[in-house]
């Protein structure tokens, strides 16, 4: 093969069919994950080495049950497979079917078969099937589908090499001829196929039929095509829902006898241990308790396990910054690197330990199959506030970062429920709030032990989290009253067998998520830290030079030590800089919340990302080593409020700031993802305004009551 374009092979199958494991097995570390893919962008792709020395591109599609989709993830599959000009329209398909309840996997397989794309049918997890005493006569399956069949297992490695060899033939195969088992079409279906083929130049009748069913949302159709198809179908009273059911039933009626003949069971099915485990895990009382205990453990782990690596990263970057200042000449770009770029990079990387731990633990829960149990348990509660059981996955992930959480809502079929989940997910305290909470919480509660075992600050942390969760649920309920939707709301989720987590799967997905965070959040923090450095280092006209001269004069009069003088000069320069001007400009708006212009600067800069707050405070209070929280806290504690003469960070101001950061939508990346996932500017704007209003009102009340 010498063609320039890599051959594309689609990996398709039901959810929990063992598709991801096969993807990881075939591609290994050769995976490319498009960061934060938009609705139209494809998912994971990976390069597969073929025995011939060539490579091909494997595209992993979301788990799908049928070509009549419910969620936007499933729609993506239909979109690609009905559009032969699509970039990822496959040259061949590897269809992955689970070895248990083969009928369920056959529905999509027969639908895809009719599209005529060369296909290889893989019976995955054959080891699990055999353990349960199920064997299949694959010749019968192969005869029926008219495509080669292969029994594989990623656990034991069975037939993976054979699969690679067969792939070579598969990608060179011609399109399949018409399927002899293809179900006859009704008159109405034939008419619809004729209409679509006329408008679209589609040479495959099943593809035309799918386009007839889904023309209202398929993105590859032009508006004109959509209108033409729509009016032709309307005039013949095309009954889409009924035809879908009819077709589905026809397929089951045809292939069920085939599978029954191919299947051999050497013992009757007994109650599996999955069910016995679930009698505890999803128990009325124990189930929710176990869930909360697991969440409590995860958050404890985030704090305690990440402490050491976080300190290493902080110290490493501080040392790097100082080192560069020592070896490079004292010019503006040294300042930019040492004060802007390196602390900016450090500000991103310092979150890696916490994010990694959180994603690792959540990934493990998903891999063993626990998350679908949580979905089942909490659907009732979620329904009451306008969410879906599947929202629980997004809300839990939000504890790390709202961005992957918002992306995970694509599995929610109902648009209203999905939208509400997107809107409230950022109210759950994410890891970027941790440094702010850490700095401020000491000003609100004194460090002591409660009830002999609990750390008072740890409890305060938990209260902030609970506050975020409660307000998220209440806001969801409010949104439920306002958002109208005619969509059917439902939840159907398979509860897969519990299985031993495959380390490779967990690690690859962990790598993907951590990298997404570093890259996408990092880009923004990086740019902002450069802008911030500029705003803090330069001022209008000659104000900076004047401020420097004046500060040196004052410190000489007051006989400051060189260290004190340096700090004083830096603080005076900050006040005279563009950042200071900005801070003073918004001071009237934030003084009812108890903030001064210095905090104003931090509020503005941390709009980019919350974690920028701490770095900004460190710069403003001219503390060396931007991430050194202890010294920053000490410095903040010494700050005097000129109006009252008391400490600047008293209970009222600190509580007000904390509440502000619990609620405010201080994250550009989240707004960008909301924009992409809702495909409109309306929802990110509403999200920003409602969270901002919540933050302002609660901070205002807290300050006015406490001061």
């Amino acid at each position: 093969m010498t063609s320039k374009r890599l051959r594309r092979v689609a990996l398709v199958g039901n959810p929990n069919s063992g598709k991801s494991s096969l993807f990881n097995e075939l591609t290994g570390l050769n995976q490319k994950i498009s960061n934060y893919p938009g609705v139209t962008v494809e998912r994971k792709t990976g390069l597969v080495d073929l025995p011939s020395g060539d490579q091909m591109l494997l595209v992993d599609f979301p788990g799908t049950y049928s070509m009549y989709p419910n969620s936007s993830e499933e729609r993506l599959v239909v979109n690609t497979f009905t559009d032969p000009s699509h970039e990822n329209y496959p040259d061949a398909i590897i269809y992955v079917a689970g070895a248990i309840e083969l009928e369920k996997h056959f529905l999509l397989a027969t639908q895809l078969r009719e599209l005529g794309i060369p296909m290889l049918f893989c019976l995955a997890m054959s080891d699990i099937g055999e353990r349960k005493g199920i064997q299949y006569d694959l010749n019968r399956v192969s005869d029926y589908l008219g495509v080669p069949c292969l029994k594989i297992s990623t656990m034991t490695g069975e037939n993976i090499d054979v699969l690679r060899t067969q792939l070579l033939q598969l990608i060179q195969a011609d399109p399949l001829s018409d399927w002899k088992q293809s179900a006859s079409k009704s008159d109405m279906e034939s008419e619809a196929i004729r209409i679509v083929s006329k408008h679209l130049d589609s040479d495959n009748s099943y593809r035309s039929l799918l386009i007839a069913h889904h023309h209202s949302w398929l993105i590859h159709l032009s508006a004109a095509q959509r209108i033409a198809i729509s009016s032709s179908l309307a005039s013949m009273e095309f009954a889409s829902t009924k035809l879908q059911i009819d077709e589905t039933l026809r397929r089951f009626n045809r292939f069920t006898p085939v599978i029954q003949k191919a299947e051999q069971r050497d013992r009757p099915f007994s109650q599996s241990w999955t069910n016995r485990v679930d009698s505890i895990i999803t128990h009325r009382v124990l189930g929710p308790l176990i869930f909360f205990a697991a969440m409590f453990f995860i958050f404890q782990a985030i704090y305690s396990w990440s402490e050491l690596p976080t300190v290493w990263i902080e110290n490493g970057f501080a040392a790097l910054s100082n080192g560069i200042r020592d070896v490079m000449p004292q010019v503006w770009y040294t300042d930019l690197i040492a004060d802007g770029i390196i602390p900016g990079l450090g500000g991103i990387l310092v979150f890696i330990p916490q994010i990694t731990i959180l994603f690792l633990l959540i990934g493990l829960l998903e891999e063993v199959g626990y998350m679908s149990r949580a979905v089942f348990m909490f659907d009732g509660l979620m329904q009451k506030v306008g969410l879906n059981g599947r929202s629980i996955v997004a809300l839990v992930s939000s504890g790390a970062c709202a961005i992957p959480a918002i992306m995970s809502t694509r599995t929610i079929a109902n648009w209203k429920e999905r939208l509400i989940t997107i809107m409230v997910a950022p109210l759950i305290s994410c890891s970027a709030r941790i440094p702010i909470y850490t700095v401020l919480i000491g000003f609100v509660v004194a460090d002591h032990t409660v009830l002999g075992i609990f750390d008072s600050r740890g409890l305060a942390f938990m209260c902030l989290y609970l506050l975020g969760i409660t307000v998220a649920l209440v806001s969801a309920w409010v949104f439920k009253q306002f958002i109208r939707s005619g969509d059917h709301s439902f939840l159907m989720i398979e509860l897969p067998q519990y299985k031993r987590p495959i380390l490779q799967n967990v690690m690859l997905s962990l790598k993907e998520k951590v990298w997404s965070f570093v890259w996408d959040a990092g880009k923004i923090i990086f740019v902002i830290s450069i802008i911030l450095w500029f705003l803090g280092s330069y001022g209008p006209g000659t104000s900076m030079d004047k401020a420097t001269d004046r500060a040196i004069e004052v410190s000489q009069q007051l006989e400051y030590t060189p260290d004190q003088q340096e700090g004083y000069v830096a603080a005076q320069r900050m006040e005279a800089s563009y950042a200071g001007v900005l801070g003073k400009w918004i001071e009237p708006a934030i003084s009812p919340l108890g903030y001064d212009w210095k905090m104003g600067i931090a509020l503005i800069t941390s709009f980019a990302a919350r974690e920028v707050f701490v770095g900004t405070m460190a710069t403003i209070y001219s503390v060396g080593g931007a991430d050194d929280n202890t010294t920053l806290r000490e410095r903040m504690a010494q700050e005097i409020n000129p109006k009252t003469g008391g400490p600047r960070y008293d209970l009222a101001t600190s509580a007000s700031l904390l509440l502000f950061y619990v609620f405010a939508m201080q994250c550009m990346s989240t707004l960008a993802v909301t924009r992409r996932e809702t495909n409109s500017w309306k929802w990110p704007i509403i999200q920003f305004l409602f969270m901002g209003a919540l933050a302002y009102l609660s901070s205002f009340s807290a300050y006015q009551i406490l001061s």
């Binding site: 309840e101 529905l107 109405m188 829902t241 089951f252 069910n275 189930g287 509660l381 398979e494």
Partner: protein, 102 residues
């Protein structure tokens, strides 16, 4: 001619799946829904009372003549945990109510 034939066919189909037709109400009498099953009780799927949900339920393997049983209900209500052959599926009460069994 073709189209009217098709309509007759559709009407038959409507009756089979019991949607909004008055006739169909009579056909539904005598069927219980999955939601009426006791914990651990098993039954055979007959038809669906809600076409919108039927296609999705069927793609999960819940098809007429399949044997289905209720394993447990969710802790906070709202959903049921079903067993279908060797697989377990959770659906909301509303969907469970649309699965008619005998």
């Amino acid at each position: 001619m073709n189209i009217s034939m098709e309509r007759i066919g559709n009407r038959a189909f409507y009756c089979h799946f019991c949607i909004t037709e008055v006739v169909s109400v009579r056909l539904m009498i005598g069927f219980r829904s999955v939601l009426d099953l006791k914990k651990g009780e098993s039954a055979v799927v007959q038809r669906f009372s809600d076409t919108k949900l039927a296609a999705s339920l069927m793609s999960l393997g819940i098809i007429p003549n399949a044997s289905i049983s209720v394993v447990r209900r969710s802790p906070l209500g709202g959903a049921v945990y079903l067993q279908l052959g060797m697989t377990y599926i959770a659906v909301r009460n509303s969907a469970a109510q649309s699965i008619l069994v005998k």
